[in-house]
């Protein structure tokens, strides 16, 4: 049996190779002229560097400026665009609309999430494929906040496209998606604001950029509903002692409360524009 599923894995890998060969974008025929210095880059800082500046010259506990705009996609029921430094995402919400035919009857609504990347989102050209893990994480982060009982038998689709990946992609996607849901008029208990923290050596860095994420020793991401003070999604990687964990969590919660205010004011602005 083991042989069997090992074989399956290998064929999957072969399939992946075939697909890559079919597309012109393979590493074997073309390559990106990488800056030779970056290959052998030393770790960006050691424990002793307390006053070290981050790549975008923020302090350790300072988030990037957040920008949200609703109504980015007219053909969707609701949409939002978010920009945190170099991280740029668009989220469209469709529905509530008829569930897929194969779906069974359900007296509460369904939520369907999908996250994908553009081919030019990352420094090295990617395949632009769906991101399965982020899709299911986005689903879990939102499902606790949406009042699914308000649209029985139907489905709400939340689709996200990461235009440019500059670090903390998933938290930005989650926050942006909840603004888009509000724009679409889907009933929610509260907005979902999400923030992540990276642990580098002994330092906690909030809202990390890609370079920091690639050399992090641990990370913690929280998605929470600020007004209800409830956590809808939480992921931790790396080794954390309990006091460290508590500190990081508090840091995230405080930051997401602030982020929640920014999201709220963006929605208020959009609503007052419509009234005028």
């Amino acid at each position: 049996m083991a042989e069997l599923f090992l074989f399956e894995k290998q064929t999957q890998q072969n399939l992946k190779k075939d697909r890559m060969a079919a597309k012109p974008a393979t590493t074997s025929t073309t390559y990106s002229p990488i800056d030779p210095i970056h290959k052998t880059r030393p770790p960006i800082f050691s424990n002793s560097d307390v006053d070290w500046l981050r790549p975008d010259s923020r302090s350790f506990h300072q988030c990037r400026p957040a920008f949200f705009r609703t109504g980015a996609v007219n053909s969707a029921a609701g949409s939002a665009y978010a920009e945190f430094g170099n991280t740029k995402v668009i989220v469209s919400v469709f529905g509530p609309r008829e569930s897929k035919k194969a779906m069974m009857y359900s007296d509460i609504g369904r939520l369907n999430c999908n996250v994908s990347y553009t081919t030019f989102a990352t420094p090295v050209r990617g395949q632009g494929s769906d991101h399965k893990e982020f899709s299911s994480m986005l689903h879990k982060a939102l499902e606790g906040a949406i009042i699914l009982e308000t649209f029985p038998k139907t489905t709400v689709d939340v689709f996200a496209l990461v235009l440019e990946s500059g670090g903390s992609d998933l938290p930005v996607v989650i926050s942006c998606a909840s603004v888009a849901l509000a724009d679409a008029g889907i009933m929610m208990y509260d907005l979902v604001a999400s923030v992540s923290v990276s642990c580098l050596g002994k330092n906690l860095l909030i809202d990390p950029v890609s370079e920091e994420e690639s050399s992090q020793d641990g990370s913690l991401m929280i998605a929470c509903m600020p007004s209800r003070y409830e956590v809808t999604q939480l992921t931790v990687t790396g080794e954390w002692s309990t006091p460290n964990f508590n500190e990081a969590m508090q840091l995230c919660l405080d930051a997401s409360a602030k982020l929640g205010k920014i999201m709220r004011s963006c929605l208020k602005e959009a609503a007052s524009d419509v009234q005028e």
């Binding site: 399956e8 690639s214 990687t237 964990f245 969590m249």
Partner: protein, 286 residues
Amino acid sequence: MVGLSEGEKEFIKGGISQDLRADGRKRYTYRPIYIETGVIPQANGSARVRLGSTDVIASVKAELGKPSPMQPDKGKVAIFVDCSPTAEPIFEGRGGEELSAELSGALQHCLLGAKSGSGPGIDLSSLVVVEGKICWDLYVDGLVISSDGNLLDALGAAIKAALSNTGIPRVHVAVNAADEQPEVDISDEEFLQFDTSGVPVIVTLTKVGKHYIVDATSEEESQMSSAVSISVNRRGHICGMIKRGGQGLDPSVILDMTSVANFVSRQLIEKLDSEIAAAEADEDES
């Protein structure tokens, strides 16, 4: 899918709030754990873990590969989980894919540590043969044979047991450093054992009503409002955490859960250690 009547649902919830669950356990008690190691002779290491009627197999296969250019001094580990249709009819065809992906993702989160390679679980630098050129790639495969709740904890335990059962052949490197790709000679007799004392255990706390329980059966899982899987190592440090299930949780509840997980994990680690030792002894005898 678990079909329960209203009465049964109330019975489960009521039992949990009175700290006496349907099968007579307390809230923080695990079902009996049975571990068998070396169940797959072709693999470098394997183990079967039974937790009540939940039954999973994990196997470890080691292959020589090339380290990634970003981390030339580290080996690679990949974890995949497959759900067999024997466990649930809906796993037939593509039905189990979603659950498989979720479990694989959660295990990678909980066992593999952070991107820089530091952190818990498997010491990746011990997998390097020649820095930047050759390393061991570990393929860890999990298979769910029978499912009665708490799959993640069972898979975590099975992987821990399989890793401690794993022997990696000693490799002799031919000494000609100028060569692009050094020649290697894989020994058939000498095997290196892994240090698995750092591999964390996964404790899933399932919240039903106001209380949370460990090692939920699928009936209990059907009544959950949310669940948090926490992986804890021997030192009591949190090595990974992922929240599952819908409803939001108050941050103070999460902190409380981590301390409960910490407490439960100590017993679980002890239990696993003795079971793994017993299983290894059994295997040597037979």
